[in-house]
């Protein structure tokens, strides 16, 4: 059976449709939360999914007191938020290594509050372990560990086409207490347009710390750069003056022997049926 492009439906697919073949594959089941398109693109990039990799960490946050009027990092919370995520990612990577994966694509990190205790957070890292279909070993991450990347299947194909390979997800966290303004300062600015410099300063500083930490991780991984870097602000049910800045991205390294000329020039298209 051929379609307009001359593509045939393979024999094994037709046999399955006719109900002629029903045997399962008790040995090699892969599981993945890829969409169909992601699956195709990962395949096109030369990789096969082996299994869903999950790491989780349920973490109890310690307590830290911050002065009413102090701009300061809440280092107990910074440590907690960082350590818990690192543990979840490490466990995910361990699962990947156990199933013999070369790396993990499409990692999502989530933080869930548990309803019954505000001091407990559940951190989950989830992604799909993949192997190079031809057994190429050059895609492993640092120290021969599986690579990790927050890229979707689509982004993964595009990154490889651009001549880079993912190394490791890198992150930095900074939980910061933004000082309250004193009554005199508040009184002094009534009816005036003024910058609240201590607020500006606090946000700048906290964001800077988070980004520096992420950059340090990338340097340690031996990366050339970080793609898909993003900065999240979050307040996990803390008091309104406590904010977490969280920087995350995927550290990448150029693929040896890949030339800029290899990259196809994208076509500009405009779909007219929507």
């Amino acid at each position: 059976m051929a379609d307009a492009h001359g593509q045939d439906i393979p024999e094994h697919a037709l046999a399955r449709l006719a109900g002629l073949r029903r045997e399962g594959h008790p040995g090699g089941i892969f599981t993945s939360d890829f969409s169909v398109n992601e699956f195709l693109l990962v395949r096109k990039a030369g990789f096969e999914p082996v299994g869903l990799c999950v790491g989780s960490c349920i973490y109890h946050l310690g307590f830290q007191f911050a002065g009413w009027s102090a701009n300061q990092e809440m280092d107990v919370l910074s440590t907690a938020m960082y350590e818990a995520r690192a543990l979840a990612m490490e466990r995910m990577r361990l699962e990947a290594a156990q199933m013999g994966a070369d790396g993990i694509v499409g990692v999502r990190l989530t933080v869930k509050r548990l309803e019954w205790d505000a001091k407990i957070l559940e951190f989950v890292a989830i992604g799909t372990g993949v192997v190079h279909a031809k057994g190429h070993q050059g895609f492993k991450g640092p120290n021969g560990q599986p690579f990790t990347s927050a890229l979707s299947g689509q982004d993964f194909w595009t990154l490889l086409a651009a001549g880079y390979r993912p190394l490791e997800m890198v992150m930095g966290s900074c939980v910061y207490h933004v000082a309250r303004r004193g009554p005199l300062a508040t009184l002094g600015s009534v009816g005036q347009n003024v910058e609240l410099t201590n607020f500006s300063l606090a946000l700048y500083e906290a964001r800077e710390i988070a980004m520096e930490r992420m950059q340090t991780e990338a340097a340690q991984a031996g990366a050339e750069g970080v793609v898909g870097a993003d900065l999240h602000e979050g307040s996990h049910n803390w008091s309104p003056h406590v904010i977490e800045f969280f920087a995350i991205g995927t550290a990448v390294l150029p693929i040896e022997g890949h030339e800029t000329d290899d990259i196809p020039d994208p076509k500009l298209v405009l779909s007219v049926n929507s």
Partner: protein
């Protein structure tokens, strides 16, 4: 029939109504279909009545060019009451619905059901819920009716593309497990009456930063079991599971003069595919930049296709 004539609504008389109800009851009991449903499906199959499809015109175009013909809309419903387990009730409920939709597909001589969607009504009558699957039964030109039609969650458009690339979406796999940490009410399989103490002091008022090791290990165990159940279920159909949707939660139960007990439950649902390892992708992929504004990253929004377990979307609230 005249141009503007209407069919009047004639309620079924009591005898007819009772006959139909009895036929349904008998069919559910015998795992078969009532005669009037079989008639409807078979008439659609032989072209005596019009075919019905959930496909859009674009999908119809592609289906037609590939020799795929829609037959009828088929469905499977099971309203299920959870007795001993909410979690495993979900697994069983979906399996019943799957068997029923497949039965309708067999009755109309289909090769596959495409565009299968998981649905539920947002009503709750006590500890129960309806598990519903709706899809379009299709036949492929030149193939005999299948004794075991495949259940594809993808729309017709993607279905045909997938077949070309050697990937057959064959069914839906479900894996669900729950367990108690501490307590144990005679209904969890690995209940541990002594658990929960470590968690109690790890979460006490004076506890500092620390991972909750006991609760964490317990929770990972529940999740792994659910995934193992998913794989075992999928192994009967194909060799891979894609597009997971999953739902999990930990509930805490205070107990008198004892450490609190924790209930962990986890459900995973995915699309099973059957594909040779490393199959070729026969199309070249060309990078294009679409100039439509709606696709701009400035405006991109997510979409959830199966509206059953919406944790993936609600997790956004506390994402990262």
């Amino acid at each position: 029939m005249g141009l503007f004539s209407r069919n009047s609504v004639t309620p079924k008389n009591r005898a007819e109504h009772e006959a139909r109800a009895a036929a349904w009851e008998q069919a559910l009991d015998r795992q078969s279909l009532p005669p009037f449903v079989v008639d409807r499906l078979q008439n659609a199959a032989i072209g005596k009545t019009p075919w019905v499809a959930t496909m859009s015109p674009a999908e119809l175009l592609l289906a037609k060019s590939h020799g795929v013909k829609p037959i009828a809309t088929v469905s499977g419903t099971c309203w299920f009451h959870y007795g001993w387990s909410w979690t495993e009730g979900h697994e069983e409920g979906w399996h019943h619905a799957l068997n029923r939709i497949r039965r309708e597909a067999i009755a109309c001589g289909a090769n596959a059901i495409v565009d299968v969607r998981m649905r539920t009504l947002r009503h709750s009558f006590g500890p129960s819920m309806d598990f519903t699957l709706i899809g379009t039964a299709i036949r492929v030109d030149g193939l005999k009716p299948s004794p075991d039609p495949i259940v594809a969650t993808v729309p017709a458009l993607e279905f045909v593309r997938l077949l070309e690339m050697g990937i057959v979406p064959v069914g839906i796999a479900v894996g669900a497990r729950y367990d108690w940490l501490g307590g144990g009410y005679g209904n969890g399989w690995g209940s541990n009456a002594w658990g929960g103490r470590q968690t109690q002091w790890q979460t006490s008022a004076f506890a500092g930063n620390q991972p909750l090791t006991e609760l964490g290990t317990f929770w990972e165990g529940v999740r792994r079991e659910a995934h193992a159940a998913l794989r075992a279920n999928a192994a009967t159909m194909g060799n891979g599971v894609l597009a997971h949707t999953h739902f999990g939660e930990i509930l805490k139960q205070e107990r008198d003069k004892q450490p609190p007990a924790y209930l962990g439950r986890h459900i995973v649902v995915g699309t099973v595919v059957d594909t040779p390892r490393g199959a070729d992708v026969p199309h070249t992929i060309e990078p294009v930049i679409d100039m439509r504004d709606a696709l701009s990253p400035l405006k991109r929004t997510g979409e959830v296709r199966h509206a059953i377990y919406d944790t993936d979307s609600s997790e956004q609230e506390g994402s990262i």
